[in-house]
């Protein structure tokens, strides 16, 4: 009986999706950054990744190109690395060797991940200036970069 009650509740799930960038995360130099002070003027693109995640690594060069493409359009990109202490030493050399052009923040305790209801990597989220989630993409396959690019372009057009 109990389990069916819960399942029924799930079908009645709400459409409200919470977002909360009122959080301090360390950057690659170990300094805390308050994320809501670094949001994009129009859009903020957040990519959750880890060094051990193969699809994440395949996605990063594509996301880096998108970051360059939209940098003058009020779009800010963030990388959110969720590596545990086991791999933390590798994160900065990895990021530098990949020539990632956007800021990367460390979320080893997965607090931002929980706040944004993210449960897998890679996950890419696009927020508007008010912090509302406008696009949510889990996983990465070749060609997904085109989907992400189209989505950002469409959102920018709508926001004009």
């Amino acid at each position: 009986m109990k389990k069916w009650l819960l399942i029924l509740f799930l079908f009645a799930g709400t459409n409200v999706f919470a977002q909360n960038l009122n959080i301090d995360l360390k950057d690659l130099n170990g300094k805390y950054a308050r994320l809501n002070e670094h949001q994009g003027e129009k859009l903020t693109v957040i990519d959750f990744w880890a060094t051990w995640c193969k699809p994440c690594i395949a996605a990063i060069p594509k996301i880096s190109k998108l970051s360059d493409e939209f940098k003058d359009d009020g779009v800010v990109f963030w990388g959110i690395n969720i590596d545990s202490p086991r791999n933390q030493a590798k994160v900065k050399p990895f990021v530098k060797s990949m020539n990632i052009s956007y800021p990367v923040f460390l979320d080893g305790d997965q607090e931002l991940m929980s706040d944004l209801n993210v449960h897998a990597v890679p996950t890419l989220i696009v927020l508007d200036a008010k912090g509302k989630v406008r696009f949510f993409h889990e996983g990465f396959q070749p060609g997904d970069e085109e989907v992400i690019q189209e989505e950002i372009q469409n959102l920018l057009t709508k926001l004009k």
Binding site: V16, R86, P93, M98, H119, E138, F140
Partner: protein
């Protein structure tokens, strides 16, 4: 029933108030069992329901987990396994209830959650969320000059079922103070752990920062303060952990060097989780063979090099080696090289790996693999994954073992995928079923995986066939995955 009503009431209130409510539900149903175990028509149900309410700096959350099975003598449970309140404001943070916290690099305390993972122990045969949290209170304050953390609570032993009376035997009180100046950090961590069998206290010092452009370091030394040895002693009776890391990075190139020395370093039921300095592999054969650090005594190094030849070509090299001194000395070493190339019309990942591990009686372990991914029309993608591994053991009973893996995967963007998986082993430690009188010398594992995401809120996965179990490492945590034969359906829902 009262608990269920409470959570429904909470959810209903939050929805009605149009507050920032979000949640996640993970439901998994299995029809089947470990091959050779009765009943072979075991049916189990696991559900994890998470809900959170957020407004500005405030967050309230709860997790309800439940597990049922048709095993006559099996454990079942329905339990609120996490709940709490968090508050954040301009560098200040307070948490009441369940929380994850890692101090320093986790030498003395590490909390974690392997999201989307379900843990099942061979003894209890109960499935549960895979996480290690503390239940208590936590405060943190930071500014440009310093950071201070303090916590007190009961640490979870994740291997025990949620309703096990001994799953929070460690009462931990801890604090961390870190000062920062001119890109340099120095700090200290104190941990007091009250366990029914041992009351231990540890003090660690850590330091880190940048010494030049692209050159960074971090070090941490932790030592028991109330043990048999004095604080500055590193003799055989002492309990200590030491870790050091040096990084260099520049355009296209990155290098990480790490060193460790852990001795008598198991705190309580497993409070600490220091860096293992072993490569975390995502390749199937390598992940399963990962050397697991022995905290009773282990020292060693790890070197990892990253080099981007260009935007579409990338090399990763890793070397790790370790040594355990017990009655005799056990050595471990591994060399790993990976090349990733993106030719636009074809993606290639290939690796070679060599290792030896005295502790596992492995004289040599050689593995290689090739992964090919080809985009097709209309955003369809096909992938072919192959791996082969040969292990030579000093154990005469099973001196030579071969493992193979192959997967054929069709996917449409990230919305749909269908995979056919084959695995093979002739490792009699694995293949021989204790329930039969004969010795099974080889085993094929065939399975299919389907995954469908109709939208970002829902993911439905189906597994059918036989899954090979064994050691697995995810997000830095190593654990045992059980063999399984049957059908498994998983539904993840975000709301």
């Amino acid at each position: 029933m009262k608990k269920i009503s409470l959570i429904l009431l909470f959810a209903g209130f939050a929805i009605a108030s149009k507050a920032q409510v979000s949640g996640f539900n993970l439901l998994e149903v299995q029809f089947g069992n470990i091959p050779g175990q009765e009943p072979d028509d075991l049916r189990t149900f696991y559900d994890q329901f998470n809900i959170q309410y957020q407004t500005k700096g405030f967050k309230a959350f709860a997790r309800l987990e439940q597990f049922y099975s048709n095993r006559p003598d099996g454990d079942e449970y329905t339990k609120f396994t996490q709940y709490g309140l968090n508050y954040r404001n301009k560098g200040f943070e307070a948490k009441l209830g369940n929380f994850y916290e890692t101090l320093g690099r986790g030498l003395l305390l590490r909390g974690y959650e392997i999201k989307n993972s379900i843990f099942e122990d061979r003894i209890y045969r109960v499935r549960q969320g895979f996480y290690k949290d503390v239940q208590g209170a936590f405060v943190r304050y930071s500014n440009d000059w310093f950071e201070v953390k303090a916590l007190r609570g009961k640490n979870l032993t994740p291997q025990l079922p949620p309703d096990h009376p001994d799953n929070r035997e460690d009462l931990v009180t801890a604090g961390e103070l870190t000062f920062s100046l001119f890109n340099q950090n120095v700090g200290a961590i104190f941990v007091d752990n009250e366990h029914p069998e041992d009351h231990s206290q540890y003090l660690s010092f850590h330091f880190g920062g940048s010494v030049a452009e692209g050159l960074d370091y971090y070090g941490e030394v932790a030592h028991r303060t109330n043990g048999e040895s004095n604080y500055l002693s590193f003799d055989d009776q002492a309990s200590y952990g030491a870790y050091f890391n040096l990084n260099y990075s520049t355009t296209d190139f990155g290098a990480s060097l790490e060193w460790k020395d852990y001795h008598n370093f198991i705190i309580g039921s497993g409070l600490s989780d220091p860096p293992t300095l072993i490569k975390e592999h995502s390749y199937r054969t390598l992940n399963r063979s990962t050397h697991v650090s022995e905290l009773l005594d282990e020292r060693g190094i790890q070197i990892e090099l990253f080099y981007s030849i260009d935007d579409n070509n990338r090399l990763t090299f890793n070397h790790s080696r370790g040594e355990n001194n017990f009655v005799t000395t056990f050595k471990f070493e591994e060399y790993f090289l990976e090349w990733y190339a993106d030719f636009s019309s074809l993606q290639l990942k290939t690796f070679v790996d060599y290792a030896s591990d005295d502790f596992k009686l492995e004289d040599s372990r050689i593995a290689a693999g090739v992964y090919l991914t080809k985009p097709l029309q209309k955003r369809w993608v096909v992938s072919l994954e192959t791996e082969a591994q040969q292990i030579k053991r000093s154990f005469e009973g099973v001196p030579k073992v071969e493992n193979f893996y192959a997967g054929l995967i069709f996917s449409k963007s990230s919305k749909f995928s269908a995979a056919l998986i084959w695995e093979f082993t002739n490792d009699e430690f694995i293949t021989d079923l204790p329930s039969t009188s004969k010795v099974e010398k080889k085993q094929h594992y065939f399975s299919t995986n389907l995954s469908y995401k109709p939208n970002y809120k829902n993911t439905i996965q189906l597994f059918a066939g036989e899954r090979r179990g064994g050691p697995a490492c995810t997000s830095g945590i190593c654990y045992e995955v059980l063999d399984f034969k049957g059908v498994e359906i998983r539904w993840s829902k975000r709301f």
